[in-house]
């Protein structure tokens, strides 16, 4: 009997613990959203009635519109590059001979695990000493390419290419091969077999990779702040600047907008990949991340 009572306490504690952790994870999100509707003109945390005024002022601001546009440019370009290059690499890396596959895989994992700050400073030094003022390429050609969207996007693509690669490869290795073999039995060419059999099966992972890369690049602060150029500041850079200089109620509205954009992209991805997936394995974005992190 005593054992049972301990059991109930343990069960209740597990339940309570889980609930509190989820509260801990979502509380900040809720706080930002709630305070973005604050009508106050003074301190951010002084509640002064529900109002949409800060959204109006934020959405009407030319400056913020430009930062948002820049973020979308960076997010979409990075996602496109990462998805195409990463998917190709996932398909190709399986066919590599072992002596090439080992270093290739090692680089993939390093690019995922290395702290973002290291990538940020290393790419800054690299770009500055090649295409920056006084850079090697600049001095050789007389043309200064300099910093801009291209430096941001190529630096952000590194991590995201590996992310897509890992997601697609996981899907590839869990794929049902009987369809591919059936296609060959029915005289399907490799090209048609790929587009009609393999590709549709990989699609959930490819979509997930695209959306995750987009949100990663859209939200990135660190790499972007190191390698951005004239007029290519993104919305996270603006928010960080505001935080350092002192936040206003408008900061909350911008922050809530950022949340809204990334959350809707993630939810769309979750629904999309869920529906297409079917089967027993969890093909959703979340499932793939959880699986991948092992």
């Amino acid at each position: 009997m005593r054992v049972d009572r301990v059991g109930t306490v343990v069960e209740a504690w597990l339940r309570g613990h889980t609930f509190l952790v989820y509260l801990f994870l979502y509380l900040p999100i809720i706080v930002v959203v709630v305070f973005s509707f604050n009508g106050t003109e003074r301190r951010v945390t002084n509640w002064d009635g529900f109002s949409l005024r800060w959204y109006e002022s934020v959405l009407g601001s030319k400056e913020i519109q430009r930062y948002l546009t820049n973020s979308f440019i960076v997010g979409i370009s990075t996602a496109c590059i990462a998805t195409i290059v990463g998917t190709m690499a996932a398909l190709g890396s399986q066919r590599l001979p072992k002596w090439l596959r080992l270093p290739f895989d090692a680089l993939t994992y390093v690019s995922v695990i290395v702290p973002e700050l290291v990538i940020a400073l290393a790419t800054l030094v690299f770009f500055a000493s090649t295409i920056g003022r006084d850079g090697v390429i600049t001095n050789a050609t007389g043309v200064e390419i300099g910093f801009g969207f291209h430096t941001i996007v190529s630096a952000l693509s590194l991590f995201n290419i590996s992310l897509v690669l890992l997601l697609v490869r996981a899907r590839l290795s869990g794929m049902d091969r009987t369809h591919v073999e059936a296609s060959y039995d029915l005289y399907g060419t490799p090209w048609r077999t790929f587009w009609q059999i393999t590709f549709p099966q990989l699609l959930p992972a490819i979509v997930a990779g695209f959306l995750l890369s987009f949100t990663f690049a859209f939200d990135d602060y660190l790499i972007t702040t190191f390698v951005n150029g004239q007029g290519t500041s993104t919305i996270p850079l603006f928010v960080f600047g505001q935080i350092k200089r002192g936040v206003t109620p408008a900061t909350n509205a911008v922050a809530a907008l950022m949340l809204l954009i990334t959350l809707s992209v993630l939810l769309a991805g979750q629904l999309l990949t869920r529906r297409r997936g079917g089967g027993q394995t969890d093909t959703s974005v979340a499932g793939m991340i959880a699986e991948q992190s092992n």
Partner: protein
């Protein structure tokens, strides 16, 4: 894939020539390989070169070979110590909070498993900056700090700008990375082992310690690595929640690079960070290999 094509009688095999197959493999892998070489290997090699060089008067890099930057970095080890302490405590806290959570999701949440994992992924992949900023509102004097000021009757009590505030941000930001691998290992656990242990009269704690924990160990080590490494290199959280007063490697690096423009000195710090990462990963591989060996033996 083409190599799997079965040879069908009366029809040429779908497998193209070996050269063509190799060309295709090369073409598929080349863009990613270029990215790795140009934007990962080369930049890190250049950072390594810079770290041995000197600084020109204008802030540029002067080729050379000296250990001055490393000596200077070692003479002021405070940021390294701060980061190491924060990342170690942070990793431990993530483990303490993450293990029961992963255990609950893996073994108790029957139908809601997938849902709970989604709920974990969504904030994790949602604007890191915004979520960190949110704590600025929660922990400020208008929030929790103010509450504690009233409670303690101490007007100087604050959370922001202290190690505690930074630690909270670190745990908040990286907790999911600890939970995912733990969840995956616990989910695959053979529940009959737990049942057997209970049938044999083992107490809950003994079962947990002797069955569940050893099974969760690989996930636990993976999770700790995934959490520890980014915590070591974190910049945004100490800057926002620590007001930059909790001085970590991240802050030191950022300062050298973007403000003091002393790239060689910054490069030396960067190499230090890379070294810590490499040591951590080496330890990880060593531990997991050793763990695997001992488990194999114990199973037999």
């Amino acid at each position: 894939m083409t190599s799997e094509a079965p040879a069908v009688k009366g029809r040429p095999v779908a497998e193209p020539g070996k050269t063509r197959s190799r060309l295709l493999t090369g073409a598929l892998v080349l863009p990613a390989a270029l990215w790795y070489v140009i934007l990962l290997v080369m930049p890190i090699v250049i950072v390594l070169l810079f770290s041995f060089g000197g600084r020109t008067r204008t802030g540029g890099y002067e080729p050379g070979f000296s250990l001055d930057n490393y000596v200077a970095a070692l003479q002021r080890p405070d940021p390294f110590i701060t980061s190491l302490v924060l990342a170690s405590i942070g990793t431990f806290l993530c483990l303490l909070i993450g293990l029961p959570l992963a255990y609950f999701i893996a073994t108790r949440a029957t139908k809601r498993k997938a849902f709970l994992i989604v709920l974990l992924v969504i904030p994790f992949w949602t604007s890191f900056l915004v979520r960190t900023y949110a704590w600025l509102l929660i922990l400020g004097v208008d929030g929790l700090a103010g509450f504690f000021q009233d409670l303690l009757g101490n007007r100087t009590f604050r959370i922001l700008g202290t190690e505690f505030g930074v630690l909270l941000g670190l745990v908040y930001g990286y907790l999911p990375l600890m939970v995912f691998p733990l969840y995956v290992t616990l989910e695959r656990m053979d529940r009959t082992l737990v049942e057997a242990s209970k049938d044999l009269g083992a107490a809950r704690w003994a079962t947990f310690r002797q069955i569940t924990l050893p099974i969760a160990l690989p996930g636990l080590i993976t999770g700790s690595i995934l959490v520890f490494i980014p915590m070591m290199g974190e910049y945004v959280i100490p800057q926002i929640l620590g007001y930059g007063q909790v001085f970590t490697i991240g802050n030191a690096l950022f300062l050298r690079f973007l403000e003091a423009r002393n790239w060689p000195a910054g490069a030396a710090l960067g190499v230090g960070l890379i070294l810590i990462m490499l040591i951590t990963i080496t330890l990880y591989l060593w531990f997991t290999n050793r763990g695997r060996a001992s488990r194999d033996v114990s199973v037999v």
